[in-house]
Amino acid sequence: MKYNIAAFLPEFFLLLTVITAILAELFRSRATPKTFYTIAKTGMIAAFLASVVFYNQTPLPGYYENNAHITLFKGVVYVLSGSCMYLSLKWFLGLDRPSFAFYLLVLLSVLFLTAALSAVNLAVMFAFLTAAFALNIFFMCLDEESFTAARRLVGTVLAVIVLVIFGLTEIYMQTGSLNFDKVAAMYVSSPLNGRAYSAGAALLAVVFLMLGAAPFHLWQYETAEKGILPAVCFINTVPVFIYFAVLVKLAGSLLAPVYMTMYPAVLGFALLSVAVGALSANGESNLRRLFVCIRVFVVGVVLAALGKYSLNNVFGSFVYLLVSLLALIGIHTVFYGLKSKGVYLKQLQSISGVAESKPYLAAAMLFFMVSLLGMPPLLGFLGILSVTNVLVSTGAYAVIAAVLFGFLVMAAAYLRVIRVMYFDGRSVLFDRTDRGIYLMLAINIILVLILLINPRFLLTDIEKLLF
């Protein structure tokens, strides 16, 4: 029993950190971004350590449980959030802006997302997921420029709420409970009727929307373009892992029959995402929107690799997602270093010739983009290899052809960015880059190199944790 309560420690630490941050904002007269960063960092480290120590303890059986698989995803989220927070500190210090709201939102977001992952009750899971998604509205309210994006996000969040309520109500009316065991039993034992199917499909659609798969991807563009850089960096990278984990949970056990019936539609979403991501990336001149396109593309490939769901498929798609997000975080880190006269650069043309004056930043960007392209010997190759290998083993040759063609179209977009950075002349004078940015880039690149030289950490050890 003692252990069971202790298993709530990660969430407790996060909650405590939220309260501490609020108290600091209220009562500390000189609370700077460093103050909030230190508080948030401490809470995040404590939560991470606690979740590792109690990785397989279940605090509330029937509602909330942990296992190695869940802890892996939580660990990744803590680490990624920590790096996002560190980078954002540089941004807030540089612009001398208040940071309390941002750190509070990050902490709450991480709390909700990790809680959703541990939930074994559909209502609890979707309540937390929806709450975390709704926080995006507040992320958009951090800046006056992004108010319009916030208003539009309200509509998306309302759509999510309606779908969630509809799905949960329908399932509850048929099973009398929203516990995973009972819901799974209902879907497996009884033939799939129209109401059960539409309820399951509604919940899956919610996850696709949160993941940003086409055609539910539009909300991301304005968020990325108008939001402040720290918010964009966080929203674009960290929650994706949790949404993916939730999708795996739903597709693999809870809503497996619905997912299997929906498979042609899922494949359609996947290929549409690949096509939309790749084609729109080629026509995009705004860097942040461009990287939303990349995210849509990545999600498309992940869904295509997930296929009809098998453990191999999950593993292949997870590896691809992980290496892609590492590269995306690297690219966002580079964005923190691209500044001219105090303004962070957003347009592709504004970074022309960056290789001349910022060779290390340009080299890092090149490194991550080539990795995203799946070009060997960089880490992205392992991602594309995992995906292609699972697709070949399932005989999905047409899907491979479509995905590889998507990669080729995407390559055109990456080459365009490389061309602007390296081949074109310099158009602006870049500001001095903070050493912390270089430090984060070095850490990211070293991590990637370690995984590259010894991919067993990524492939074998994680496979053991997953299965």
Binding site: F381, T388, V392, L408, R416
Partner: protein, 477 residues
Amino acid sequence: MVPYLLLITIMPLVGMIFVFTAKDNEKTKGRNVLNVAILTVGMNLFLIVRALNLIKPGYGNLQLSESYNWINTPQINLSFGADSFAMLLIFGVHLAVLIGMWGVRNAARGQKPRMVFVLLFLSMINGFFMAADIFSFFIFFEALLLPLYMMVGMFGEARRRNNLFRFMLYNLCGAFLLFAAIVVLYNHGEKNLLLGGIKNLHLGSAGETAVWTAIFIAFMSRIPIWPFHSWIASVNSGIKDPLVFISANIMPLTGIYGFMRFWPKTVPDTIVLQVAVLEVISVITMLFIALIAWVNRDIRYKIFSFASIYYIFFLLGVFLPTDQILLNVGYSLFACLLIFASMEVLVSYQLSEQSSKNLSAGGILSSMPKMSKAFSFMMLAGAGFPLSAMFINNFVIMAGLMNYSLVSALAAAAALLLISVTLLQELYRRKDEINPVSALSLKDKAKDISGGDLFFMTAVGVILLLSLFNPVWFMKG
């Protein structure tokens, strides 16, 4: 045992890191990075010669095998192995790059990125030539593209960047096709399939056609053959930097080498058509390029044509159903690489003199006696005179071709003859004294190359001459 092959692959990467972090400013003017790069290539040459002396001469029997487990799921090893053919190519490529480095030693800007990417290119091409299994082969095959794209993009002609972009996409398309074919082969055969084992796989008629067609297109994408030759020509002949020009023109070698390692000697029925089509297209392309080179005034285009025509000629040799001729192809390729690299460096110098002093090409060599000697040697060797290994070995390859298909051989011979005439014509134009040199003031005359340059070119000439008498003079026995 010393892992020579791994060291030969890694050494340029290590050098690249040193170059990347080396100080390069107004004061050093790129000297630091150039010295580090030359030192790296020199050290690697030492390792290559050592490895060459450890292997038995011959083609096909991969020796000094090394295998490193990289991934367990799916199981992928990085396997290396080399025969004297592969090592000969690596040796030739290193010498060509060294000649290129000599050519850019006084470059005013961009020495650091140039050396970083050329060393990366060198590392990848070494891995490519020594890859012993399908995945290692693919990894290096695709990885070569990035340094090349970066070098040509940064130091090539700005007006031709759209062509470079298309060329790169076309090559990536080929690489993705090869990737798909390799993953299919991997899933159908034993894991870590060695290159020699591909021909023994049976995938069924449809599978075989699909896989071999993908492989065919992948390797074709690297060779300046119709219908995509104009992109390669436009990109490569527009490069004004000798080192980048040499690197870019080494690229087609990867396509030929790919065919050499993958293509089965006994061609399956499913791909007989592709081989026939390739043969016809190759011969037509050779003639076509030779004709354009003949009428084109741009000397860089002529050098590009020289290299391309010989590459296609060697490709025809590769398709002959005997392994014996492949060693002759290797010997000839070695000499060809050195000749076109030297030609490019010398031409680059002449063009810079022409442009800075507003001189015409006609008779420019008459005021440059040292340059004239070096350039004449290289042009004559390129034209097929008995000055290098190309002389005898080209005859052997041609004899093999004639034995196989007389029409193709005659057409190929016509193309070779035409490009030789083109080179001699250009040499004559540059040596012919239209305006007496004595009539020009000293500042208007083209400045000759230094004694050091002549010494360097003499050393290259000696290597070429040695290759005429014994193509593997640097090997024991």
